[in-house]
């Protein structure tokens, strides 16, 4: 190739590098904003205008909210551990490990969570070993095991999203497979993994209303107890629904903020 017939000074612009996109603020009237503050406004309005029974219902719920969070946080921790093991297992080249991990996911995916709860608490409760399992532990075990399977898929997708070149480079530098996973792949993969984990957390919090069948006094159970004694079904469940809504919306905002912060490979 002939090069440079004209020797023209080429002007090179030096900018600030790739810009990290800043999400445009959609203003006040997003669906999220309207629902979140709408729900709070409705709660406040009901409690102020009709303190009997709405305020009485609301006062009955806080320890239930606390238990709901307890179940959710403990379950998500358990599911993260199980999910990491399962995710790595499903990516493993060892046939046996892979088979075990995949079978676990298949089994758990095929059984409704409510049935799993009953099974772990009431069915296994007949066995000597599980007799002293407190309902809270059974609830956390069931939710953790169930969500561990879904979390496994999240981890697998996150690890898969890291370019093959990364592990090739790491192996060329003399890292073994485990070290590669530990020091090269996972530190990058967690960006992809974290947002869906946040979403699983919210889904788990909503599903935790099922643990009320184990006589665990969570938010749903408290609402049901109030309703069954006062016969104020409409009032009790309206309040319970609103409280769940406020909690999950608050959390989902946190997740979307987190997504924005982590996601600076994306371009607008």
């Amino acid at each position: 190739m002939n090069q440079h017939f004209h020797k023209k000074a080429v002007k090179i612009d030096i900018g600030d590098g790739a810009a990290i996109p800043v999400k445009k603020d959609a203003g006040l009237f997003t669906a999220w904003w309207m629902t979140f503050f709408g729900a709070i406004a409705v709660i406040v309005y009901l409690c102020v205008t009709q303190p009997e029974p709405y305020w009485r219902v609301l006062k009955f719920l806080p320890d239930g909210v606390y238990v709901t969070f307890q179940v959710t946080i403990l379950s998500i921790l358990l599911s993260l551990v199980l999910g990491l093991v399962t995710g790595l297992g499903r990516l493993s080249r060892n046939k046996v490990v892979n088979l075990i991990a995949s079978t676990y996911v298949e089994i758990i995916r095929g059984i409704p969570l409510l049935v799993q709860l009953f099974y772990i608490y009431y069915a296994l409760g007949r066995l000597e070993f599980f007799k002293d399992l407190p309902p809270m532990a059974a609830a956390v075990a069931a939710m953790g095991i169930c969500y561990g399977a879904y979390m496994g898929e999240v981890f697998r997708a996150g690890i898969d999203s890291i370019d093959k070149g990364q592990s090739e480079a790491s192996r060329s530098l003399g890292f073994n497979r485990a070290q590669t996973m530990m020091y090269v792949i996972l530190p990058q993969a967690w960006r992809t993994i974290l947002p869906p984990v946040g979403n699983e957390f919210i889904a788990l919090l909503k599903d935790s209303s099922l643990v009320s069948v184990l006589a665990v006094a969570d938010l749903m159970r408290r609402g049901r107890e109030f309703a069954s004694e006062s016969f104020l079904y409409f009032e009790a469940y309206t309040m319970v629904a609103l409280v769940y809504l406020v909690i999950t919306l608050f959390l989902s905002k946190g997740v979307s903020k987190m997504e924005q912060r982590l996601n600076y490979y994306e371009r607008d």
């Binding site: 409760g125 309902p135 006589a215 049901r224 107890e225 004694e229 079904y233």
Partner: protein, 246 residues
């Protein structure tokens, strides 16, 4: 409307000789042996359903039992899903504010079921213990009133008894007929559990059939039948069948 009249006439002709029996739909939570439960053939059986059938025969209506979960059984009555509730409903002042009751058909005390080796003989012994009953039942109200005890509520009384059997609870409180059925008659539970004592309510507690506020028609119909079977000995016969003689 015209077809309806025609149909009614047709029905009258077909049932010539039979009085035209009216359907009365009763809600039953059939998880409360021996009062009401589901047998192996999925039929609703027990003391309550037999009484209802006898009342229907005596008062000339056709009782239809509708299996309904306890949780929401009163809401279903209010929204008109059925005419009455025949599900061991205790007549309480609080309930009377939202519904009407027929005459009582059974007197209950609360039975306390414990493990045989538990040293629980009085209400005082329940201090510091975990006790349970079915959510929204008089048994659970008693649980909550006992000082120093942790009260837990279950969806079904059977689940509470199961947990007691597995040693996760110290006591279960339920209507005496139900409590004694689990603790003394049940093949498996009776080996390990016992009916420790009865809690007599401050004022006598009765079971009645619940109907919607102001639904005098159904209430009167049931009362008529109930009075009839009490008079002709039918009630005592059914009672003896389920609980032995008085």
């Amino acid at each position: 409307m015209r077809t309806r009249i025609a149909l009614a006439l047709l029905a009258l002709f077909l049932m010539a000789g039979n009085a035209l029996a009216k359907d009365v739909v009763f809600a039953v939570d059939a998880t409360y042996p021996p009062m009401e439960m589901v047998d192996a053939n999925k039929n609703i059986v027990g003391f309550g359903p037999e009484i209802v059938a006898a009342i229907g025969k005596a008062a000339g209506f056709n009782p239809v039992l509708k299996n309904t979960a306890w949780d929401g059984i009163f809401a279903g009555l209010a929204s008109g899903k059925y005419d009455a509730i025949a599900s061991s409903v205790s007549i309480t002042d609080e309930r009377k504010q939202t519904m009407d009751f027929t005459d009582p058909y059974f007197e209950v005390k609360q039975g306390v079921v414990t493990a045989k080796d538990a040293a629980i003989k009085t209400v005082e012994d329940l201090k510091g213990k975990t006790i349970a009953s079915q959510m929204g039942t008089t048994g659970y109200f008693v649980c909550k009133k006992i000082e120093g005890a942790t009260a837990k509520s279950y969806d079904e009384i059977g689940l509470a008894v199961e947990d007691l059997y597995n040693g996760r609870l110290d006591a279960v409180i339920a209507d005496d007929a139900v409590a004694s059925n689990y603790a003394l008659q049940h093949e498996q539970y009776s080996q390990k559990l016992t009916l420790a004592f009865l809690i007599a309510p401050e004022k006598p507690e009765y079971l009645g059939f619940a109907v919607n506020k102001g639904n005098k028609e159904i209430a009167d119909l049931i009362n008529k039948g109930l009075a009839a079977i009490k008079a002709n000995g039918e009630y005592d016969k059914i009672y003896a069948k389920w609980f032995g003689s008085k």
